[in-house]
């Protein structure tokens, strides 16, 4: 049996975008209704990579469950691990050594850079420019190498443990990061030249996907998506964790409310990450990299909520503990999930080409949404 392509009564065409579609960056399924080329209705259908992480975590110990989060938002796996480690440490009231804090923040910011680079390449690819992807990966591979030297993995690091980090940094780490910063500063100008300044790109990006400040807050947008609408929501600034209160950096805010503002926020955030790394890389104190913790971690009874800023927005980890060795309930408030809910609002009335551009700028990581 087959369905004949046909329009509904209003002359509208219903199209399935995804689960396998190059623009959805994974297995998101969008049901869009088109009037000509214009999107009149959009409905996300999730769950094509729903891996039941929350249920799984209920049977994992507090040391184990951190590692599943690396697979959740795999582009900022360090930051995900950071959130979980912070949650456990807060509940256990563990003081972690300063060296570990420095390493954690450095790693987080490197991850943010890598994530933004991949976003930049993938977004340009969505818009039909295929080469920026390769330029982005050129620098990203350098970060991957640095990570690999210390953590032993390229993507799912599993490096942060409750009480600090798993190993000490590699002796080459400081030098290689410094080299990378020098390299990256020369390349980011190239990014701007190739994409940001391009007339076609700017025309594609400006005045699409508009979401006002109030709407952004109401839809629960966080991260660059909200900051592109002028919502101050950087957890690193508003609720500083780790050593973020000691470093100098600006929260990037843009007030254009459109896709181009969000693009600019991310590009400028790369500069801020570089700034943070530059401040910390020479200051890493000597000492322990891990606090002494018990082999079996038992959290006191209660509820603990930790929030960190990932590359995509605010990640919340809500741990409900009954006093045992495993969490009673874990909820991951993932940034992508809320950002996605604003997609229909942003896309309505725009063309299919804009849908792709807006999704590209949202930087959706589907396993992060589905968990």
């Amino acid at each position: 049996m087959f369905e004949q392509v046909s329009a509904n009564n209003n002359g509208e065409l219903v199209i399935n975008v995804g689960p396998q579609h190059p623009a959805t960056h994974g297995v998101l399924h969008l049901l869009i209704t088109l009037h000509g080329e214009t999107v009149t209705k959009l409905e996300p259908n999730l769950g094509y990579i729903h891996r039941s992480i929350e249920k799984m975590c209920e049977s994992l110990s507090y040391r184990q469950f951190i590692y599943t989060t690396s697979r959740m938002d795999y582009l900022s796996s360090h930051i995900n691990n950071h959130a979980c480690a912070l949650g456990v440490e807060k509940a256990m009231q563990i003081e972690i050594p300063e060296r570990a804090e420095y390493i954690r923040v450095l790693m987080s910011e490197l991850t943010r850079l890598a994530s933004h680079q991949l976003w930049w390449g993938a977004m340009a690819m969505d818009l039909g420019a295929l080469s920026p992807f390769f330029y982005a990966f050129r620098e990203r591979e350098v970060i991957n190498d640095i990570m690999e030297e210390t953590c032993g993995a390229r993507l799912t690091m599993n490096y942060f443990v409750p009480g600090g980090v798993m190993y000490d940094i590699h002796p080459n780490f400081v030098k290689r990061v410094k080299d990378f910063i020098v390299l990256f500063k020369s390349k980011i100008a190239e990014y701007d030249e190739l994409v940001t300044g391009n007339v076609i790109f700017q025309n594609r990006m400006k005045n699409i996907g508009i979401i006002s400040k109030e709407d952004a807050i109401s839809y629960g947008c966080t991260g660059p998506t909200a900051r592109g609408s002028g919502v101050s929501c950087d957890v690193r600034k508003n609720y500083p964790y780790s050593i973020y209160k000691n470093v100098q950096f600006d929260e990037v805010l843009e007030y254009g409310c459109d896709a181009f503002s969000r693009y600019q926020v991310r590009i400028k955030e790369m500069y801020q990450s570089v700034r943070i790394i530059e401040q910390l890389i020479d200051q890493i104190p000597e000492g322990e990299f891990q606090a002494k913790t018990k082999a079996v971690i038992k959290l006191p009874k209660g509820e603990f909520y930790t929030r960190v800023e990932t590359a995509r927005g605010e990640l919340g980890v809500y741990i409900v503990s009954e006093g045992g060795t495993t969490p009673y309930r874990i909820k991951f408030r993932s940034p992508g999930f809320s950002n996605l809910s604003a997609l229909e609002h942003m896309v309505k009335g725009h063309k299919i080409g804009d849908l792709v551009a807006i999704m590209g700028v949202l930087d959706l990581v589907i396993p992060d949404i589905d968990r």
């Binding site: 807050i217 629960g220 509820e303 909520y305 809500y318 309930r329 408030r333 999930f337 809910s341 589905d370």
Partner: protein, 151 residues
């Protein structure tokens, strides 16, 4: 606003609610039928202005469910947790998605995984699991002998 001040102010507005200071945020326990008026007040009152629902979830306590709403004010930078207990046999609560658009997807997810009915929700359907899925997997009594391999 500091937490103590916030607790005092919320307490005066909702005398019947019990408020404790949790590990992170002040936690307000309310009756599930009172949810909408409480959220309405919290959002519209200028001194409170809780306009940002950053997390909404549910916990299965085996005897009852607890709906947990994490609220933040982007102007005052204070946080509040609203908790409402639900009956386990017929869990029903008013939807928050007309106040906070973010709740729409969150509530669909909670419906999907816990089976809580949100009245007046525009399209309450399964979102993460297939439409013909039986059961609500995040409930503590959920068991799936075929798919779940127990360690």
């Amino acid at each position: 606003m500091e937490n103590e001040e916030l607790i005092a102010q919320v307490q005066t507005r909702f005398p019947e609610a019990s408020i404790v200071l949790g590990n992170d945020f002040p936690e307000v326990s309310i009756d599930s039928k009172q949810l909408l008026p409480v959220l309405q007040t919290l959002k519209t009152e200028p001194s409170l202005a809780f306009n940002f629902l950053f997390c909404e979830t549910c916990v299965d306590w085996k005897t009852h469910f607890t709906m947990v709403y994490h609220l933040e004010s982007t102007t005052h930078r204070h946080n509040l947790v609203i908790k409402a207990n639900l009956d386990r046999v017929q869990p029903e609560i008013e939807t928050a998605c007309h106040l906070y658009r973010a709740a729409e997807l969150h509530e669909r997810e909670i419906f999907d995984l816990f089976g809580i009915i949100f009245t007046n929700h525009p399209h309450l359907r399964r979102i993460l699991l297939t439409d013909d899925w039986v059961g609500y997997p995040l409930r503590k009594d959920y068991d799936d002998p075929i798919n779940m391999i127990k360690l």
